[in-house]
């Protein structure tokens, strides 16, 4: 039997990328100076210009087969795109389920189309060494809209996190005007009314609320949480750590504990920080007093959801979708007069701040494109479709008068014959399925106004509160060399295992906080110091060479 796992593929790719790196004369090194093929390109393309190729062009592109809206050739998107830009896209289709896997294979095999969308930050790293990807940072002058947005929204810092060891970045990410946060807690507002309290805005207020709930319903744990994959308390530790000024949960998994301490100007290990300890003490208090279900960190999402929808718990982790798709319909059956809302992330010692990136998944470009006679036209096309205001509105909402209308205040309104997100449930056609707009391949990022244009009123309120918070700067880049990356991952895994085990022990009261210093010592026994040295050295090196 052939069972090929993602890990197999990554290993194979890593090996091949290495091999290719030795063999090929690095195509990326030349930079954007050479006057590449300008066939079909516009001479005076700029911000606000509608891109139109001077002759009909076809570009090859990868595209997924989304199960909810599989690609159709008769989508209005394709015909309108051709009408506006003179460009046709020739697609290679990949099932959504295994998109990443096949994307990796065909890039490594040198069989990739010119445009490869849906690449998440970090995914491009294995292909960089082989020279398969275009170092887009050398060509941003061809992308006026992209450049404009980066400058206007002050995104350069976020972009820097994408830079590789050579100081270039290879991924052209989707960019948001503001940090977009979705995950928080959902709370039963009818229970809040019962105990006569307003929705909590800080973690301390949450504690008081949970205590009052417990008094009213002593048999239940008022808070039973979910999202324990791939790490226990993925969401809860994540949002809690951010309000305590440290790193936990999902972010810990993604960033391997390398937390940027802005005041000290260096990286420190998140879980060894005093703030991390304080956060665990807070959770330990909730567990000890019976306010937080001890199963919160081990149970499956379905079990946590079942408790919440059966009215046995009143607070649970939530995003906009789970609120509407899971909690409300579930509660409607069991507890018909229940009311539930998603509260803005409670605040903690770190103050009125939020943490996050403004980058989205984006596109990479095949390095061979540079030699194409239509290279400039292709870059202009990409810039228009993915980064111009007109292109973003087109990709998301479609054609004015056909799929949507704009009212006097500039708000978007779907046309009555078109459904999207349940806005016109009885409409015969669907914006994604039948017209091909709001397709995840083309429509992401953009202005806050555009992002909010599909949100419900309650989600807009949530976003308003969150947007009012100060965004902390993202951590600076510290690209590791191939050998360093290997060494780092050998240290990261045992450290992370130890952190996860002991995080639970401290929270559940199986280990006393008097042993905290011993815990930090144990981490040092697992090469914590060498690991942080490696990270900080890489940071310093990159700062000197490319800062």
């Amino acid at each position: 039997m052939h069972q090929v796992t993602r890990r197999n593929v990554l290993v194979a790719i890593g090996a091949l990328a290495l091999a290719a790196a030795c063999g090929s004369e690095d195509t990326g090194k030349k930079g954007g100076g050479a006057a590449a093929g300008k066939d079909g390109a516009m001479a005076n393309y700029g911000v606000g210009t509608q891109f139109k190729a001077t002759k009909p062009l076809t570009f090859t592109m990868l595209h997924n087969i989304h199960p909810a809206y599989p690609v159709k050739n008769d989508w209005l998107f394709w015909s309108e795109l051709e009408k506006r830009t003179g460009v046709k896209l020739a697609l290679t289709l990949i099932p959504f389920a295994d998109y990443d896997q096949k994307k990796a294979v065909i890039i490594t095999a040198g069989d990739a189309p010119m445009i490869v969308p849906k690449m998440y930050p970090g995914q491009e790293t294995p292909f960089v060494a082989s020279g398969a990807l275009l170092p887009v940072s050398d060509y941003v002058d061809m992308l006026p809209n992209f450049k404009d947005k980066v400058a206007k929204w002050n995104i350069q810092g976020d972009l820097d996190t994408l830079r590789q060891e050579d100081g270039r970045y290879y991924l052209l990410p989707g960019v948001h005007e503001d940090v977009w946060l979705d995950y928080s807690l959902a709370i039963r507002t009818d229970v809040l009314e019962e105990i006569g309290m307003p929705a909590p805005t800080t973690w301390d207020e949450l504690y008081t609320v949970l205590k009052a709930m417990k008094e009213k319903h002593p048999d239940n744990y008022p808070f039973s949480d979910r999202w324990n994959i791939p790490t226990p308390g993925g969401n809860l530790l994540n949002i809690l750590a951010q309000s305590y000024g440290t790193q936990g949960g999902w972010t810990f998994v993604n960033e391997h504990g390398a937390y940027w301490d802005g005041t000290a100007g260096k990286f420190v290990y998140g879980p060894a920080m005093d703030q991390y300890k304080q956060m665990l003490q807070y959770l330990n208090k909730l567990v000890k007093e019976g306010l937080l279900d001890p199963e919160s960190f081990t149970q499956k999402d379905e079990d946590a959801t079942a408790k919440f929808t059966a009215g046995k718990s009143y607070v649970i982790g939530s995003n906009a979708q789970s609120l509407v798709n899971e909690y409300r319909p579930g509660l409607a059956k069991a507890v018909p007069d229940a009311k539930v809302t998603k509260i803005p992330v409670p605040l903690g010692p770190a103050g009125n701040v939020k943490v996050g990136t403004r980058l989205e998944n984006g596109i990479v470009i095949n390095a061979k494109a540079k030699d194409s006679p239509n290279f400039v036209a292709m870059m202009q096309f990409i810039d228009w479709l993915w980064y111009s205001d007109a292109g973003e509105v087109f990709a998301k909402w479609g054609v004015e008068g056909v799929t949507y209308a704009k009212d006097a205040s500039g708000d978007f309104k779907l046309n009555p014959g078109v459904d999207f997100l349940g806005l016109n449930p009885s409409a015969p056609k669907h914006l994604q399925k039948d017209f091909g707009f709001s397709n995840g391949v083309f429509a992401y990022g953009g202005t806050t106004q555009l992002l909010n244009s599909t949100f419900s009123d309650e989600e807009k309120q949530f976003q308003n509160v969150m947007n009012g918070r100060q965004t902390l700067p993202v951590r600076p880049p510290f690209p590791l060399s191939e050998a360093e990356r290997e060494q780092a991952s050998l240290w990261e895994t045992p450290l992370a295992d130890h952190v996860q085990q002991n995080t639970l022990k401290f929270i559940l009261g199986k280990r006393d906080f008097s042993e905290w210093d011993a815990f930090v010592k144990e981490l040092e026994g697992k090469n914590l110091t060498s690991y942080m040295d490696l990270v900080n050295k890489a940071y310093q090196r990159f700062k000197q060479q490319h800062g």
């Binding site: 091949l16 199960p67 389920a97 096949k102 294979v105 979708q321 449930p425």
Partner: protein, 301 residues
Amino acid sequence: MVIPKINAADRGTRGQRIFRRFNVVFLTGVVILTLYPFVNIIARSFSQNGYIISGQVNLLPRGFNLTTYRIVLTDPLFWTNYGNTVLYTVVSTLVAMILTTCYAYVLAKKHLRGRTALILIAVFTMFFNGGLIPNYVLISSLGLKNTIWAVALPNAISVFNLLVMKTFFESLPPDLEEAAAIDGMNTYRILWRIVLPLSKAVMATMVLFYAVSFWNSWFTAFLYLNKLELFPVTVYLRNIIAGVSGGEMAGANGRDIGELLQVAANIQSVTVLLTILPIVAIYPFVQRYFVSGVMLGAVKG
């Protein structure tokens, strides 16, 4: 109903009777254990999502519901892809049988020069292979992408099946073939007229092995085919499962939240049923060969 009369002697000793009773109870238990997952999956595929999520579905469907079946079965693409699966399975199995039989028959001849080398070549591929990317490059430079041959050729010879077949051919008495040769048959006629008719058991087993593996396979198809209308049904269903569990579908189908939850709850059981149905239907007909065939090589006289 006639109850066979057992005389006192047949009933055996007390110990034997206890053993027999124990056997009945124990083996019934084993049957229930093996059948339960199947029955449970059938029950889930017809149940309502609420009952499935809260784990209340056991042997019988609860809150009878056909939504998922309706959604999957009314999609024309599902039928196109199902047809592809049948076509790919038939063609691939045919190709695989021809190639494996010829290879195994040759290997079974002890007097063949270079036989060891030929066996080693086959066995080598059991332990080493070129890897995913070189294979991909090979298939695409041969121009096989987006054709049925990308699915049929790469897995045409399974070394395990090859060795089983070789062992079977070796166990046939060489005298038979000698006699046929003296009567003037050439090698091909001997294979066709003498050996194959005597090898129905192993042939049926191999057909079953190959057919099931081609039926279930999705990876080669996923890798080498780039068009919706070329995919086998396994790729189609895999994509649906990923869609509902990945959560991205939820945003897309706001209007059918109820429907969506239903699909998410039992798409896996529906999928399992729809894909194994044909294999389960064929199995009883092949099984009697299968029983004798799979014992091959287990005991050698």
